[in-house]
């Protein structure tokens, strides 16, 4: 396995702020790996995704992408917490957003939009407006939009955070199926530890001021996983205990 993206001593500072949000972050994501980032709010988890996506320049360190660039795809695509659908576009045109401006002709675009919608279980929803969808369906469209550009790396910023518990579990399983079918690498931010250990190959805990990777937890449980399996819940318990130590002790584990 080869690293698909490698962060070397990355730090980020908000415009106007003096102290960095996080600093000295080393992270390498392997092809096909599912990596989770958890941490206290304000630790810059979302900011980290934005730096990797190129939406925010890092204030220190370097990023190396080892992904193949072609004119008909984007290397990295993002899924946001709020689905962020454009209300003036139909579902299929929302999914096509990232294909516009790529070297993709009309027929290919339609084919990829249909493929992405099928992958998220919304094959017949292309003609709907965003306001006609439920919260879970909107989030599926957000995932389809990211998949349509055929990225190597999927960045997901608490994508299920605003959903009810049942829908969240359904979408977690759907995401695992899609991940399995497509072999994409995923970097997934969440504050839900149970979600983190159920989904991830590896969980990174961010904490401190400025934030850094406090600890990395491999989740070795075999897939498909059982949410209640001892290997899963053991890691979850460890992360939860470390996270509360972080809150109380202000950084040292």
């Amino acid at each position: 396995m080869a690293a698909i993206v490698e962060l070397n001593r990355i730090g980020a500072t908000f415009p106007g702020a003096t102290a960095p949000v996080f600093s000295g972050i080393d992270l390498s994501i392997e092809r096909g790996e599912f990596v989770i980032v958890v941490g206290a709010s304000g630790a810059g988890k979302s900011t980290l995704l934005r730096v990797i996506a190129g939406l925010l320049p890092p204030s220190e360190g370097t990023i190396r992408h080892a992904i193949d660039t072609r004119a008909d795809r984007r290397e990295i695509a993002m899924v946001f917490q709020e689905a962020r659908l454009m209300p003036w576009r139909r579902v299929s045109d929302n999914v096509a957003l990232g294909l516009e401006g790529l070297d993709v002709d009309r027929a290919e675009r339609d084919r990829r939009v249909a493929g992405a919608l099928k992958l998220v279980g919304l094959a017949n929803y292309g003609g709907r407006w965003a306001h006609e969808l439920s919260g879970g369906q909107r989030q599926r469209v957000g995932i389809a939009r990211a998949l349509a550009v055929d990225p190597d790396l999927l960045l997901m910023d608490e994508p299920f955070g605003a959903l009810d518990a049942i829908t969240r579990q359904t979408l977690q399983d759907e995401l695992l199926r899609i991940w399995h079918e497509t072999g994409k690498s995923i970097l997934f931010v969440t504050h839900d530890i149970d979600e983190a250990v159920y989904l991830g190959d590896r969980v990174l805990l961010l904490g401190g001021t400025p934030a850094r990777v406090v600890r990395s937890y491999p989740v070795d449980a075999a897939r498909p996983r059982d949410r209640e399996h001892a290997d899963v819940s053991r890691v979850g318990a460890q992360v939860k205990s470390d996270l509360s130590t972080l809150f109380e002790g202000g950084g040292g584990i």
Binding site: A53, F80, E82, P87, R90, L97, G98, G101, W129
Partner: protein, 248 residues
């Protein structure tokens, strides 16, 4: 017919009957308030003499030129100012100074600059329409959801042109369209006044008739303005609903 439209028609009819009664009973002198029953004949005579369509076409001409120029400039400048902080800072005091000046206060300068001409009338109409569109476009663009702009950027639409086309203009469309509609009405309000100083059009004909105490002619043109405004607003709303059909 629904109960609501029945009541609406009833209200209009009652108003006309009351007006007719007041005029017929001689409560008010006929030149001060002509009876509505005489208006169709007046309208027909204006039509057969060729005044009506000449005046309506002339006014429509001023109106459309003023409306198109004022709307385009208002939307363009309002959008640009909302996009660039420097331009925004520059316009602050300037707009606060110029905006409260009523369009009709520009009449002296319109005449000095353009003479008693069609251009002068169009200019005055354009000024009122400009400010309405300037402020609504400004507000609409300023309030576009920054999350959608970030979304578009994350999918490769980062240039100013791409941002405008993919996010800002469609997101601001409801606001911009409501400004255009308000300008459409404001234009009809101004058109008559802009023609009062002798430029061919409905306003000029009304002024002439008023001087001769031909008040029934004045009323015919007052109703003409109401009709033209009603038709243009109805057409605009139909087009607006089509463009904004994504709003439930």
């Amino acid at each position: 017919m629904s109960r609501r439209s029945l009541l609406g028609a009833g209200g209009l009819l009652a108003f006309l009957l009351l007006w007719e009664a007041v005029a017929r009973l001689g409560v008010i002198e006929a030149t001060l308030l002509p009876a509505p029953s005489g208006l169709p004949a007046t309208f027909l005579s204006e039509l057969t003499l060729g005044f009506w369509h000449t005046m309506v076409l002339a006014s429509l001409n001023h109106y459309l030129i003023g409306l198109v120029c004022g709307s385009l400039l208002g939307v363009a400048v309002g959008t640009a100012v909302a996009l660039f902080p420097t331009a925004d800072a520059i316009q602050g005091w300037l707009a606060r100074m110029l905006r409260p000046i009523p369009p009709l206060a520009w009449i002296p300068f319109a005449i000095i600059w353009f003479g008693i001409s069609e251009t002068a009338a169009a200019f005055i109409i354009a000024i009122g329409v400009f400010w309405i569109n300037y402020f609504t476009a400004y507000a609409a663009v300023r309030t576009v959801d920054p999350d959608l702009i970030e979304l578009a950027a994350s999918f490769g639409h980062r240039s100013l042109f791409a941002r405008l086309r993919k996010v800002i203009l469609p997101a601001a469309a409801p606001g911009i369209l409501s400004g255009l509609r308000a300008g459409l009405g404001q234009g009809w309000m101004t058109v008559v006044a802009a023609e009062l100083f002798g430029i061919t059009g409905i306003g000029q004909r009304m002024n002439e008739a008023a001087g001769l105490l031909a008040t029934e002619v004045v009323i015919v043109y007052m109703l003409t303005i109401a009709l033209l405004y009603g038709i243009s607003d109805m057409l605009f709303v139909a087009a607006q609903n089509r463009v904004l059909r994504w709003q439930r």
